[in-house]
Symmetry: C2
Subunit: 96 residues, 2 copies
């Protein structure tokens, strides 16, 4: 089990719409992907346009290959991408 | 309840010693602070010197005031600070 952590900056003034979109994208697209376990979204207190999306996957490849190389990735990006102020910074983590 | 998320870069070649130190600092110092709930450490797969420390606190002030302005903060930094390649990037988050 690994964690995908996406550090996201959105365009100002779009928090409410983005929060609806990321919930919808996660539950209707990501949650159906092979190896998906669960997800959480964290909203930054100091930087209002910053969010962390944390997705647990069974394996690294479930995210980097199975999901990113599937049509679902395009569906996901169509839902949340319009809110992004730039490309999210995405890396993967193991828990100590 | 809020999340402290510290994005940490350590000096190369010190992973094992740092992982022992951060566990020790979290359990012997941070865990005794007012408002502490729990903590997790995540180790980055792509960037071997990157870690995320995630601490749950009852309130924002339990971290920013009660902990950071206490002697315990100095004890904590004495344990983990020598491993840091630079100041950690620390912000706070609410869960959606």
């Amino acid at each position: 089990m690994i964690y995908e952590v996406a550090d996201i900056r959105i365009v100002p003034g779009q928090r409410e719409a983005f929060e609806e979109a990321i919930r919808r994208g996660a539950t209707t697209v990501i949650a159906k992907a092979r190896g998906f376990i669960d997800y959480k979204v964290k909203r930054c207190i100091e930087t209002p346009e910053r969010y962390l999306l944390v997705v647990r996957w069974e394996t690294l490849e479930n995210h980097t290959k199975d999901f990113r190389e599937s049509a679902a990735f395009g569906e996901w990006r169509a839902i949340v991408g319009p809110f992004f102020a730039g490309p999210p910074m995405v890396e993967h983590f193991e828990e100590l």
